[in-house]
Symmetry: C2
Subunit: 161 residues, 2 copies
DNA sequence: ATAGATGCAAATATTTTGCCGCCAG
DNA sequence: CTGGCGGCAAAATATTTGCATCTAT
């Protein structure tokens, strides 16, 4: 680790990662999982993300808050969150290479609708989707714990061009 | 390439990759795409697959038919088929690591239903799914060209244990 | 004949692991 | 205290690319 105090004093520039505890932090805490300085930062980044991020983007943002966070820690934290079902892993139809994208798991599943030309991704919720999942559960005799739907095509704007 | 005739004589052991032309071969042919010996083999492997395969498995099977086929050719052929929308790329919820799986694109989309414990994958078709896609297309103003749904959970057999 | 394919090797990209010192609880 | 965690470096995977040669059409 580079020479710097183990715990920096909070400055005006630095975002306070101790308060308020986000949802992910709360979930992990209540499960008795150790909350390190680095984890708090990664959790915060994932929760406050404007959109879906891959591991590299999470790392970049985390390092802006605390430069000492390493890529390995990001991967290990992602893995931790996945194992606890707190984040979803997407690949957005591989429209942008083979990267994986992450987002905080929302209470209600949503569909990712991506434009294959401009790459814009929209989230879409539908009662029909819930119904479909119930049908799958019934017909396949499965107790669904995770569902993921990604749809690609040309959005209206790109079609007009 | 290792020393061997450019075109081996067909033997009892070797599968004839020239006849009958599979669907993929036909599709590519009708689009004026060059059908090389290697491509024929890879296409045949993908079409005759018992299940979803990743690039490594496709390579292994292809090399059993023609040992000279290289990994690079497999990747390039997969890419070709993807670009032409002739195969689908799945990751089966990353249940088995971050590999990507491929299957010949079927006329009607199907959902992949995977058990998170035993790993068994079942394919499921549903009119409800078609309806959902129509809803998405309408509400999001998108012209859908590709759709992928993967669902995971505990199958009946695993739940009983 | 010739645009486009393949093979090879090397470059990239991405993710995981071993080991050791350190810290949250 | 102490078991889990983070850092570092290296390994393991996975995929792509440059270039020379070959081939399907």
């Amino acid at each position: 680790m580079s020479p710097k105090p183990a715990h920096r004093v909070s400055t005006g520039e630095r975002i306070n990662v101790h308060e308020p505890a986000g949802r992910l932090q709360g979930e992990l805490g209540s499960r008795g999982i150790r909350l390190t300085r680095q984890r708090r930062v990664v959790l915060q980044v994932i929760e406050s993300a404007p959109s879906h991020m891959d591991a590299g983007e999470i790392l970049d943002r985390a390092q802006k808050i605390d430069p000492d966070i390493t890529r390995v820690t990001v991967y290990r934290t992602i893995d931790l969150l996945k194992r606890h079902g707190l984040i979803d892993e997407l690949d957005l139809l591989h429209l942008r290479g083979h990267r994986h994208f992450y987002e905080s798991h929302s209470p209600r599943d949503h569909i990712h609708v991506a434009c294959i030309r401009c790459g814009k991704v929209r989230e879409f919720e539908s009662e029909l989707y819930e119904e479909l999942k119930r049908q799958i559960a019934r017909d396949c005799g499965i107790e669904i714990t995770v569902a993921r739907t990604e749809v690609g095509g040309l959005c209206a704007a790109c079609r007009g061009k």
